[in-house]
Symmetry: none
Subunit: 196 residues, 4 copies
DNA sequence: TATGAATGAGTTTTCATTCAT
DNA sequence: AATGAATGAAAACTCATTCAT
């Protein structure tokens, strides 16, 4: 049991290191040696848990998706939950995620780095953003007709993506805060001049 | 003269190749050899025009900034020009830039790839976005008080950044179109439910 | 008993896989992992049956030697058996061996790959060819004086070795067939003696 | 000029080292590092002259083929040259080649090592042996009808291939000498024809 | 300017082998 | 006997950079 745990820990450590380093440095600028060093393992050991470096991308993307799925999107479709609470859930989780490590969101970073040169990951990226688009569309559907809700969700997701980048660049959190404010206003249909 | 022109051409060719390749593949995934091959030059020749690879980042960023400065932001502060024309100028230039090559905007790609690992470029990135923020704030100042204009400009720039990424990922241009629509509405103070 | 059998089976499986893979891919190009995968075992398990990779060479060579010893050379010295039958025995066994898997004869392949870099196996190789040389010399001794018989046997073994290679390269069996034809002729003395 | 010569020398040194080491150790057991060390160059420098390791196989095979073509097969079709001289030319060249370095003939070694795992080189191997087969057939055509000449040439080439291996294994040259003797006898028709 | 050649350091990946379980 | 995990060493190959010509 100790052994099983220990080995599982190494596996998780590797994936966790990969996640962090790729988020901070990008995929191509993160070497297997970096990850190994970060785990106190040898390079060769890494290949006991993956079969090629690209596997780490998949695993990292899936883990970020799972994080938001479990913490937000699995809860958001609950009819009982008031819209405000849903938005809080979303943004509180996001803020926790962004605060935990610096370097913005791994998914956004990777989209820019890999979207064209590694088309095989497109589906994973689209999956991720579909989850956000559908979740936010759902939240907006009480206040708006379907098509409007979808369009506003797209605006929101775009703004959120850019906001994460801007916050990273200017080392603030005001851009993401604004997305929250705007989304709340949209739910409350108080959209005219949304300034806090 | 022929020689001077030829060398200037090589210089431009190199910078142009760098711009394109870095935009498509990212900085770390683009090698000096790639750029040299793309220009029909040898690797060593590249170093007659730059002193290290990083120079290419600077040059590329400056050229994108110059492109938008000359084509938009130098014209936008003209009191004669109606707001609608200014917005058209902005988005037409942007669309032209995005259409010219695929791969989204070089600046956004690089922000994500380099923001943390190469802090020396932060200023350049911030410069670039300041230009956009100030330009759009200016456009919004006729319709809104200063602080509101600034806030809405930040929303707009964030949304635009995310929109470029989303359009790249889904191979459309609808996200950026929406930013234009929303900005027009904001200028016209018709913000309630902005759906085309 | 079940256990003993099972392990013996694994042992044989490993040696059989090694034989096949080394014959096809060469010694250095066949990894312990390849052999393990071919047996459905783990790499570590291989080391319960050998102490280092080189052991597999020895075992493979011995098994090929044993195959021809049991099927030909143990029977060939029987005074009762007519020469023609002996030759049939030899070449039928050889053809069966060559047909069973492609990739020529393991021994010949290994001689070329290892002869100089691993002098420790020289004796094994020489043993193997001595068996052939003596066997064929014996067959020729009825029709020729001892020294002539030996010389013709050497010619035959050389031609046979080259024929196996040529057949492999051109994917035929005509070269080996010719060796059989020539040997029969030599036994029947239907060939003016070519001896210096 | 000095520079051109120097660089050409490095290139030749690399190919020469590759030829020698591959002949002695086999392709898979010869590393780029081995070759680099043998030339006093860095590993990276090797890649200035080849684009992948496999290139060395091609170059080595071509150089051996060129050696025998220039020294034998370009001369052998001369009607003036007596058959005995042609055979001398062939075997003197071969002996020189075999003596120059130990380790038998590079082509034979590679056939065994690569024939199946690297089918892309089959053509090169076949080319090489075709040169020999046609040359020896030509020599035998004065003394024998075409088809017989061809068959005897095939016997001769097979025997020669095996003889090179046997000589290497037993560190003699008697096996190859026998091939010369037998071929002379065949040209002089001092051998009852062995054709099926 | 331009380039062929060279290279140290680094990249991903493989390998034979060991060992605790 | 079997194996998952680990690893030092080495494999092939790449890269940014330098320099003599």
């Amino acid at each position: 049991m100790t052994a099983r745990k220990a080995s599982a820990n190494h596996k998780n450590q590797i994936f966790e290191q990969a996640r962090q380093l790729i988020r901070l440095q990008g995929y191509h600028h993160t070497s297997i040696a970096d990850i190994a060093k970060g785990c106190g393992l040898s390079k060769a050991s890494i290949y006991h848990h993956i079969s090629e470096k690209k596997d780490l991308i998949k695993i990292a993307l899936q883990s970020v998706k799972a994080f938001f799925k479990e913490n937000c999107f699995d809860l958001i479709y609950d009819k009982q939950l008031p819209d405000q609470k849903k938005i809080d859930l979303l943004f509180d989780t996001l803020e926790q995620y962004l605060k935990e490590y610096h370097g913005g969101c791994l998914v956004h970073n990777l989209v820019h780095e890999l979207a064209d040169s590694q088309p095989e990951f497109r589906d994973l990226f689209q999956d991720y953003f579909s989850m956000w688009l559908e979740g936010i569309t759902h939240i907006l559907q009480k206040a708006h007709p379907d098509e409007t809700a979808r369009t506003l969700a797209e605006d929101t997701v775009a703004q959120l993506s850019g906001a994460i980048m801007m916050d990273r660049l200017y080392d603030t959190n005001r851009y993401v805060q604004r997305v929250r404010t705007v989304l709340v206003a949209r739910v409350l249909q108080r959209e005219t001049l949304i300034v806090a």
